[in-house]
């Protein structure tokens, strides 16, 4: 129906990547419907099949066109955009999606709270009606990019008198509101990738609500489902990722080898290769439109392997008693490769916590894949305000 290569050629003809400003090029690409082709026309897409995107990306990369640095704006692309598309008004979509995609406006996610981690639906940040809008007060945590974000997706409690899943409402929150305070959250690595976000009487216009009042849990499911799709992962070469760093350390330090560490290394190498192969298989299934549930197996295995590999690497390093730097840094994104083994060891501890703990993941696999009985839900019919806490 649409001739993708022609459209790409037309974009390149009008905007030569060699001479066009990066941002101008990205805006023109969005306006040409080549940002995310499966989005509707006028919103950066063409209403085309998602699979056409690969063609666009390959043609543009070959022409030396700039990209929108997707890793830096992953939350906007992977979580906020699909939710805005599904639940936002036409006006909101028009206003928000273009700068989101070009990276001019960074997004963050205000979901987790100190009292609502695995049990996200227990969250207590309160939104109260106030005239035409809402006033929000509460505390969010583990927010990456909050210190650079222009906007946030935010889930709040609007009705404490009903069971927890029913009384939530979902908003787009302006991070420049004076009631928003962002503080770095220092981790065991010394750095602060994440933030705590304190919301004090933050005003949000009703037009910035996504979905119905009280329907925030369903809206959040859309966000989280898209997060899982995004986690599907990029293709990796053999020895890509953590295992490569450990293998290189092994090769560089013959003196530190023992029979015991050799067998551990080989076991972990084998499992890393298996994980890589499982990733290839998952992507091949996705390309055929029938993804299996292996994605959750991959996250579980990834976390365990990252932890065991980095632990081994500390033992076989030149001097595992040293650490590279405890300074409170503010990295843009996680970089496992730019730091020493000790950093990787500490940072990998988060892999089995962030994005769903390994324990919750095991529950999900047991219940949704294996069909085993659900955990008892003692809070199901209790008003949120009456939950023990």
């Amino acid at each position: 129906m649409t001739d993708i290569p022609d459209r790409v050629a037309a974009l390149l003809a009008d905007h030569d990547p060699a001479t066009t400003d990066r941002l101008d090029f990205l805006r023109a690409r969005f306006d040409a419907g080549l940002a995310w082709v499966h989005f509707p026309e006028g919103l950066g897409g063409l209403g085309a099949p998602r699979t056409d995107q690969q063609t666009v990306d390959a043609l543009l990369a070959a022409a030396g066109a700039p990209d929108n640095d997707p890793r830096r704006i992953g939350i906007g692309l992977g979580m906020a955009a699909p939710t805005i598309l599904a639940f936002g008004s036409d006006e909101l979509k028009k206003r928000l999606l273009r700068p989101l995609w070009t990276g001019e406006e960074v997004w963050c996610q205000l979901f987790s709270e100190p009292g609502a981690g695995s049990d996200l639906a227990a969250l207590g940040t309160r939104a109260r009606r106030d005239g035409d809008g809402w006033v929000v007060t509460g505390q969010k945590v583990w927010t990456s990019s909050a210190h650079t974000a222009r906007w946030a997706i935010l889930v709040t409690r609007t009705d404490p008198d009903v069971p927890k899943h029913s009384g939530m409402t979902y908003f787009v929150c302006d991070m420049t509101d004076p009631g928003v305070e962002v503080r770095p959250l220092r981790q065991i690595t010394g750095e602060a990738e994440f933030n705590e976000v304190f919301l004090t009487d933050v005003r949000i216009p009703d037009e910035h609500r996504l979905g119905d009042v009280g329907d925030g849990w369903r809206v959040a499911q859309t966000t989280l489902m898209n997060e899982r799709v995004a986690i599907g992962g990029r293709p990796m070469p053999r020895e890509g990722g953590m295992v490569g760093a450990v293998a290189d350390t092994w090769r560089a330090n013959p003196d530190r080898r023992t029979p015991e560490s050799h067998d551990r290394l080989l076991k972990l190498w084998v499992e890393s290769e298996a994980l890589r192969l499982a990733g290839i298989r998952l992507r091949q299934q996705l390309a055929h439109g029938s993804p299996g549930p292996e994605g959750s197996a991959m996250k579980l295995a990834f976390a365990r392997l990252a932890q065991e590999l980095s632990g081994l690497e500390v033992e076989i390093s030149d001097d595992g008693l040293r650490y590279d730097d405890w300074t409170l840094r503010r990295p843009d994104m996680v970089d496992f490769t730019g730091r020493d083994a000790g950093y990787r060891y500490l940072r990998a501890k988060g892999n089995s916590i962030e994005g769903g703990t390994s324990e919750i993941l095991r529950n999900i696999i047991a219940e949704r894949v294996l069909g085993l009985p659900s955990e008892p839900r003692v809070d199901k019919d209790v008003a949120w305000k009456d939950l023990p806490r």
Binding site: A247, V270, L277, Q284, H288, A297, A301, E367, L372
Partner: protein, 358 residues
């Protein structure tokens, strides 16, 4: 090999089953569910475990001659398809000479340039003969220069062999008559026996070293598929049991301690399956075979044993009884761990291949 060469590997392996493979799987699974259900297998294992009619039916279906060319009476398919059959036979612990004859002997014979070898492949394809490669089931490497006369210990499926393919004197020999001394085997569904040859046989021409090595590689790859089948049965059966077993007024499968163990097992099997598919695909494309097979054998052996051990434990008392078939899977899984090299041996072989010296 340096790590940078990994980054230049050719195309990704194909780790999806084709429609043809899936319909083959469905056909074999249906047949085995009918003729080789666990109760039937259990009822046979203390006598003659092999069901010759079933083997003939599998041969007539073409399931035992998939890698054999069509002009020799085979299916002209390949090891990917054979892996499907191996997995299904593992899922049902069917006593059948698939690994010994349809994989090990077949792979060796396929490497030879010899009319007698071709005729032997034809007899395997038609189901007329079971031809067993005379190596210990636990062999990881095989010497080919010993004398033809002598005894080979712990040969799998020797009891059902019509002929043996024997590595000796730097060649492979086809041998009709041998003295087979059955032994009490750990694996009731793939018994081993000591086989004594008297020094007579037909010498086959061709590169015996390369034939035996490719047989061991194909065997290890198909064994990995079998192990995935074993593990899958153990998980599925345990999950089903824990849904219908009640204690403390609850389904036992609802206890989180058990749910998490089963989730971990499912995860291990998902990874193992990817390596087994990769090994079968590598045999087909000829790309990266040694690494693919070593990876698959180091992981799948361990996962199958783990799955069978978890199955026994999570079945509780019933899993410890002779009447429940889980022990057949435990015994097969443990014997398979030794078969064609333990996981440790495969890891040791992997180390130089991927430049990780000890």
């Amino acid at each position: 090999m340096t790590p940078s060469t990994f980054r230049n590997m050719d195309l990704d392996p194909n780790l999806l089953s084709t429609d043809v493979e899936e319909s083959l799987r469905a056909g074999v699974r249906e047949l085995l569910a009918d003729k080789s259900d666990p109760a039937t297998v259990l009822s046979r294992v203390e006598g003659d475990p092999y069901d010759r009619d079933l083997w003939k039916t599998l041969a007539d279906l073409g399931a035992t001659s998939l890698p054999i060319p069509e002009d020799l009476g085979g299916q002209g398919a390949g090891w990917r398809e054979a892996a499907v059959v191996a997995e299904e036979l593992g899922r049902s612990v069917t006593p059948a000479p698939f690994l010994s004859s349809a994989v090990l002997a077949t792979a060796a014979l396929l490497e030879l340039d010899d009319d007698n070898a071709r005729a032997a492949l034809g007899r395997i394809a038609s189901g007329e003969s079971v031809i067993v490669l005379a190596v210990p089931l636990s062999a990881f490497t095989v010497a080919i220069d010993g004398p033809l006369a002598g005894t080979v210990r712990s040969v799998a499926d020797a009891g059902i062999a019509d002929q043996f393919l024997v590595p000796a004197d730097g060649a492979l020999y086809l041998v009709d008559a041998a003295e087979v001394a059955p032994v009490v085997s750990l694996d009731l569904t793939r018994p081993v026996a000591d086989v004594t040859f008297d020094g007579t046989g037909t010498r086959l021409s061709g590169d015996a070293r390369s034939a035996v090595d490719s047989a061991l590689r194909a065997g290890a790859a198909m064994l990995a598929a079998e192990q995935v089948g074993i593990a899958d049965w153990c998980l599925a059966t345990t999950v089903a049991y824990l849904k219908q077993r009640y204690q403390f007024g609850r389904q036992v499968g609802g206890f989180q301690a058990l749910k998490h163990r089963l989730a971990d097992l499912w995860q291990s099997i998902a990874l193992a399956r990817a390596t087994a598919l990769n090994a079968a695909d590598a045999l087909t494309t000829g790309q990266d075979v040694a690494v693919a097979v070593a990876v698959a054998q180091s992981l799948c052996s361990t996962v199958a044993v783990k799955a069978a051990e978890e199955a026994v434990q999570l079945h509780g008392g019933i899993g410890m009884t002779w009447e429940h078939p889980t022990h057949l899977f435990l015994k097969r899984a443990k014997a398979d761990e030794l078969a064609l090299g333990t996981p440790g041996r495969h890891r040791a072989a992997l180390a130089p291949l991927v430049n990780l010296p000890g």
